[in-house]
Symmetry: C2
Subunit: 232 residues, 2 copies
């Protein structure tokens, strides 16, 4: 498998390029509009055909490149049931997305937003903002729900093997990856905390709203192709 | 092998934690002083013993955490011949550094600085500022030499297998890794350029000096333990 982790410094977003080396078919997970040229160049240089964009959720902190990528490559945009209406395919828990000979398994992991999914591929899982390195996504907008997020993490993600590599949609301290086992043991929001304690902790975060919330959410519902978007 | 790529956003420096899963012995490559606590915490959480810090060169853009790490863990600091005098071991081209059952091979790759080395470990090479993603280190201070850098890249690094993963000390565009084959084909400073063209290109860059040059170089010669250093 060809695998590249990419980072958008402005929004601290991780984008993943994952490709099947046999067919050269590729997917981008959570691409960022401002990085469109970088990512298209890399796909071309590596001799890949972009067949899919996989969105983990409707993002509030950056605008997706999915629509532009679809226009440039003809790829299919995949989102969850309840995700961006502009997507070509809306997937449910347990469905699979095939990219060449790679098969991503969809895991429903709502709670950060009501449309959040993770994508499991072999020994690694792309968790979006559900589970991050020693952290989790916030739960105070876009129908976020702390109890639901606790359930998604503890009943779905934490049933994966401890060795499973967890690739999140963000990190703000320069960490690139973690494992399910590590997060069970060391995630300060989860280790040793029951559902009620997690809900209380999330309720008491009182975070400022994401800077791009009002722009990004509607833009992402139209795959980043709506009016008044950043020019790239 | 346990492998973690870590990023310092201020200096855009990549640090690598590499460990032997059998003995749990670990090395940090190019650790950054400001990330001391993050890195010590990770080493502890993963149940590792830090036995080595490997420096690719005396850095000009950040201060190393090597001295502090040695004080905290008793690890050995490894630098090249001509590298920081504070190091416990000075290595030459072809020598090996054993970390548990892992064996890093030292490759002399001067040109960015006169003390630059790369560390080869199986299918991956840690190139410091010699070879970066679609770029190279600059060659206009610390006895940098563009011709020497061209030779280091083309005669040493480019003799590695095309599939070799290249992990650099920096990237400024959110790219985390490349391969030898990609850089042969797509590095704009090298692809299709001979030695004279590379030297001319480097001579004409006219980059501003690194912000921390006057602090970082003397600090790094004493493993980050000199006076007037940033407090962590």
């Amino acid at each position: 498998m060809l695998f590249r982790q990419l980072f958008d410094p402005e929004s601290s977003t991780y984008t993943y390029l994952v490709a099947d080396p046999t067919t050269r078919q590729a997917a981008l997970i959570d691409p960022v509009l401002e990085q469109l040229e970088r990512d298209l160049t890399l796909v071309k240089e590596l001799g890949l055909t972009l067949t899919h964009v996989l969105e983990t959720h409707v993002h509030a902190d950056h605008v997706t490149a999915s629509g532009q990528l679809r226009e440039h490559t003809g790829c299919q945009v995949v989102a969850s049931q309840g995700g961006a209406s502009c997507a070509d395919r809306h997937v449910r828990h347990g469905e699979r997305v095939k990219v060449g000979e790679l098969s991503f398994q969809v895991l429903s992991t709502p709670g950060h937003t009501d449309d959040s999914v993770s994508y499991l591929l072999g020994d690694r899982v792309f968790t979006g903002d559900a589970l991050m390195v020693r952290g989790t996504g916030r739960t105070d907008f876009q129908n976020g729900d702390a109890g639901q997020l606790y359930d998604s993490i503890t009943r779905t993600l934490f049933t994966l093997a401890d060795e499973t590599l967890v690739y999140p949609a963000h990190d703000y301290k320069g960490r690139t990856v973690t494992t399910i086992g590590e997060e069970k043991r060391f995630n300060p929001r989860l280790a040793g905390k029951d559902r009620a304690a997690f809900i209380q902790l999330m309720d008491e975060l009182h975070l400022p709203p994401p800077k791009k919330l009002d722009i990004a959410v509607p833009a992402n519902r139209s795959c980043g192709l709506g009016p008044a978007l950043p020019q790239v």
